[in-house]
Symmetry: D2
Subunit: 287 residues, 4 copies
């Protein structure tokens, strides 16, 4: 029988014995833990656990059924949330872009180099410009234009299309439209965005212009989950790079591209590998 | 006759021929340029120039007198500001601290290792705690307490003392009091402060607490000139370091100390070496 | 009864069920796991585990006795090595220096700021120069000179003194003498050294000179355990910083000091926190 | 008449008055200095100068002729080398690759985004694999295979092709063949290579394997000019990134790709912008 690999994510109130109970139960199910990462938040007593494990004797579906049946019984649990992820199932991701190519090319290149544990099922843009650059990567490129006044219709089309594509995760790879609260309340799956500043500084539009005006000596990039409040969702990854007085806004945009690319790629990889849990508008990232 | 070394700082509207005129004039004065750094701000047409040079034949006082007499004649100048600094004159700096020792110890250690081109003429604190740690460095340690309601009196005492010390530059090395507008309007010489965040994010009090609450993935430190608006003066140096969800506020404070130390030291060195010019609430730092 | 906190380090051949068995056993002993970090080396099948846990009902001595009696019984074990560390016991460390103060001052400052979970029981130097700088930290400063031809006698004195001090760990904080193979075979406890290059580049003497001559664009620092082969022991921490053609050897030495300080402090903290295991001349560092 | 922009690179023995003479001469030729960077090597007395300037009244050809006629007369010069570069002339670069796409895609993407002040006139590979990924960038992709025993013939074909292409600079973007001394003595124009380690550590083959075996805590990338001694030419740019014991050789290769890309791009940009001078197997990089 083929071995199944799976990732189990758990969060609950921290109580003695959780690790022993769950580890013992997995062993009874003939599973072997490959990696285990945990974190206890001292401020509010929550416990977070990521277990990557394999079953030598059960296929994933059986494992999922057995855990579903038995997990609640490993009590006491308080405020338990848990999810089980089949490592053999590749997530379906949709990349959204506008006119800047760098993040799209980088993600498609990594996809092509087999670095992303996912299938990029489509690139969706509000402009046709980048289609030629996506072509060699053999991924569909679709345009959903957002004409002036046409945002509700465009978002309805997007929502429909994401559903048809059966998308798991949307990656905003310098998509220059703000998704509305209505859209976000309708599309409840994860959306990862890259913002070109070290949030919370320089949220909103034209962050490189803002950075130049304030005279900062470093610029940053922030990958975060999208929430209704603009640029205020849980941060997954951030980085900065040094700049000087010589750097014009155009120089900042050029230097920032490299940051955006690496920060977004890091966040997307962590997300796809089920290394990210969210808690109180913050993330726990098990690296 | 002993050689004199000097640094000339110039800012003016950029016009053709400035470099040729000034370089030729210095050559006529028997001076040799050691390093030269320049910057033209394309946005508003300003030109900034730092020239470090030596005179083999004139002592500094003669050089200063000659330049004073001749400089305006190298016209046309527009919006000219210039200053000449004797490289042999050591600035007199005062370090101000409260209860955290790390920045003070670092600056005193660098002073002791002859890394700072300045004399630390006193350490002034609002608390006596750090006195034993300053003692081996042979620098006076003075206490000017700031009791509740006693800030105006304390600032008057500070102003008087800085005058007696003939201080050139004040370094706030984690001095936990905000200097009032009245004080700043009375003391017009440079004050360098270290703030423990990547400004403009997390200005004001308890930045590590703010950082933890927002869930950022890096923390920063910012050295800047003090102006009347809190934490809003021209930034001289900044750096960040990565953090994770595991880091408590206490961990951030510990990790941040290393950043504060290195950022403040870098800024103080650049300031003392006359590598910093300010323009429109930004700095030009010639490294 | 007071709670005991302890750290358990385990290495063995990786086999299914280890985590379940040990976690279950600790739970049976009324212990609660606070943090757990593990690593499996795919190349040779070794498994490494660090468990930080607390016992609410047993003092450390009882815990140690119970584990000693029961641990081997949690078999099957292959190539098992394990050790148990009382979190309440502070290691006794000796700092060794020569004439450069920066690493010593930094470690003593961190000790003073309660950042190191250890007692610095002595500073030993082959020169008396740094004694005044150690004085405010209330740590003994001892001189064991190493005159020409006097190395065997000096090392004998050092060995005797370390024994009297009951030292657990020796930190070479820019100690400019190479410890002989004879000494290392006699003193079997850990010695942490800081080398001022990114090893394996520029091992041996004058690494900044070597770096300048090769024309590298970054310099580094490496903290490692001392072994008989010079600068070739297991690396605990490394970092680099950018340099330019402008930097003289003296500039490299100045810039490098900051690196040395932070890399050594990071390594010493990890070592004291029992986060470091060694395996085949490499380290596993659980951060 | 159209304005000409040009870059003048000078190296000579440092003597008083050089800056004044050249700046004055350029002013007499109705030229205005835009940026000027200089460096004096204290060890051997050499002076290096990069002047970027514009002529409002002369086209480049006239400027070059006038400078050619007059430059030697600005004496005394000792060991003078100088070159003048037309900023309007785009260099012709050839990218060489094997089977790894990341550096090629990155350079072609930057070329496409107008970040490189050059024309990529061809991609030449010893394998056909990457042709589809180069296609959307509208650059010719040519294969010059290197069969066993066929290196002399392949290098002859390469030499002929570079000549036909009138290439100025060759960029080895993970080209996995060592160019022979015979080839390098026949092709005297610059060749920029990216090596996937922080040289001088881990020169030669399989540096990530070497890094893993030594147990270093950071990996690096180095861009350098190719010389006959393997991986020993003048270094243009370097960077490192942190790794841990968890990183397999495959992880290092993946993490290293991002470093290679950014270090090579930085070096190529500096080279194309005439910011790099070489001296005694080292580079001066005016940033």
């Amino acid at each position: 029988m083929p071995a199944a690999k799976a990732t189990l994510l758990i969060s609950c109130i921290d109580r003695p014995g959780i690790i022993a109970r769950v580890a013992g139960h997995l062993f009874d199910l003939d599973c072997n833990i490959i990696t285990s990462d945990q974190y206890s938040d001292d401020e509010d007593g929550h416990f977070f656990w990521r277990i990557h494990f394999e079953s030598k004797s059960r296929p994933f579906a059986d494992l999922a059924r057995d855990l579903e049946a038995s997990f609640a019984g490993l009590r006491p649990w308080e405020q338990l949330r848990w999810s089980l992820h089949d490592a053999a199932r590749r997530e379906r991701i949709v990349i959204m872009v506008s006119r800047l190519a760098h993040c799209m090319i980088d993600l498609l290149s990594r996809h092509h180099a087999l670095e992303l544990d996912a299938d990029v099922v489509s690139v969706i843009s509000n402009h046709p410009d980048l289609e030629p650059l996506a072509r060699p990567f053999n991924v569909p490129f679709e345009v959903i234009a957002v004409p002036k006044g046409g945002k509700p219709a465009a978002e309805a089309a997007l929502l429909k299309r994401l559903g048809e594509l059966n998308a798991d995760t949307v990656v905003l790879a310098r998509y220059m439209q703000v998704l509305s609260g209505d859209f976000l309340r309708a599309w409840l799956k994860p959306i990862v965005n890259i913002h070109h500043s070290f949030l919370p500084a320089f949220a909103g539009s034209r962050p490189y212009q803002q950075a130049r005006e304030r005279g900062v000596k470093l610029i940053g990039a922030t990958a975060h989950y999208v929430t209704e409040e603009l640029d205020a969702g849980p941060i997954i990854a951030q980085a900065t790079t040094a700049i000087t007085h010589r750097d014009s806004v155009a120089d900042l945009a050029r230097k920032g591209k490299d940051l955006e690319v690496s920060v977004l790629a890091k966040a997307v990889r962590a997300h796809l590998n089920k290394q990210v849990l969210t808690h109180r508008n913050r993330t726990i990232v098990f690296e």
